[in-house]
Point group: C2
Chain length 223, copies 2
């Protein structure tokens, strides 16, 4: 393990654990130099890597700060429904659930929340969400009437890893009814598993009508 990686990992661990929350000013370079007993260039290299990873921001004279998390992945344009204006969350169910659609993923007891996102009066997305209560205990008593679980989690779980799966599906009876469309309409289904420090935080499945939504991704890279 190289020294700059050790410094990077030490800082990253404190950010991902939530100890250093978004906006927190991490120690100055000269303080890290003292803490790790190395040259400033080595600390700077570690901090540069954290900037590239999107974990911190550096400002001259002011210092380095834990970056504010963003739901938008840099390369894959997945909307954060809860943040978009004009969207309305409509809660339909909230209960303890067995994770029948989440096979192969380890989790504790789960809370299930379902709802519909609206845009301009019409339903845009159907959301089914499972929250691992052992990872996020506050979720058990949260009020998802006033705030959608997506944005609620954003404020309660600072950092995480995620895996996405995108597929085309035909809307079943329940989905078609909820979205106000005929059964069998082609929909884009986005699934996202979110972990924090190895523990499942939440699983969410969003269904978008194919004619109202598409994903875009840009790559300034290799073909």
């Amino acid at each position: 393990m190289t020294l700059d990686k050790r410094i990077r990992d030490a800082i990253e661990a404190r950010i991902r654990s939530g100890e250093w929350r978004p906006g927190y000013r991490i120690p100055f370079e000269h303080e890290l130099v003292a803490e790790f007993g190395c040259a400033r260039a080595t600390v700077s290299k570690a901090l540069s890597a954290l900037v590239a990873a999107g974990l911190i921001e550096r400002r001259r004279k002011a210092g380095s700060f834990v970056a504010h998390p963003q739901v938008h992945a840099a390369l894959l344009d997945i909307p954060d429904l809860a943040r978009l204006e004009g969207y309305r969350w409509e809660r339909t169910a909230c209960a303890t659930a067995a994770p029948e659609e989440m096979v192969e993923v380890q989790s504790g007891p789960l809370l299930r929340v379902e709802g519909i996102h609206h845009a301009d009066g019409a339903p845009l997305a159907l959301e089914r969400r499972l929250i691992d209560v052992s990872t996020v205990p506050e979720a058990a008593t949260a009020d998802f009437e006033t705030e959608a679980p997506g944005s609620w989690l954003l404020g309660h779980v600072p950092w995480s890893d995620a895996r996405h799966r995108i597929r085309a599906i035909a809307a079943d009876r329940a989905q078609a009814t909820a979205l106000g469309m005929p059964i069998g309409v082609a929909c884009l289904q986005l699934e996202r598993w979110t972990w924090r420090a190895g523990a499942l935080v939440t699983y969410v499945r969003q269904v978008f009508p194919g004619d109202r939504y598409d994903l875009t991704a840009e790559f300034g890279s290799r073909r």
Copy 2:
């Protein structure tokens, strides 16, 4: 413009132009030090950035080499159909075409190629491709009977930028027939525009049956 960025840009330009092809050994660090009149650390920083960008690979003692392009985007798992074994290309049409589905993208005269990718005997994807003949003149005389245009282009256009669009569609009559499925089946449609130095290289639209294929994406990053 900082010195390390100038070095990086100079190397990147020679790679993207095709002057230095994949596998080419770029000058040793000490040669770049002499060329740019700077310290080795500065050259090394520029090369590290090129590694992070996926443009070069560095091997101790051997030197640094232009990386072999990969169709797989790092974060979004889009398969390179032409490279997967067991896939068979079946050409159905090849003609000059008006780009009716490519509005808003500027291009020269286009060559149209259509075909079906097979896996284990069953059709897996339907492909419609438009190639800009003014950007890739050799395409006009290429033989797409023996080689799919995707892999052919890979060998003739070294580096490029790309934009993707992903949506769910219902298969129309022609698509359903080609894929051997009922009309209206939910399919994942992947579109990709590819540019080289600002000029369109190719547009491709691939249609995958929803029940036979899905995309996955992992992000070790922010939510």
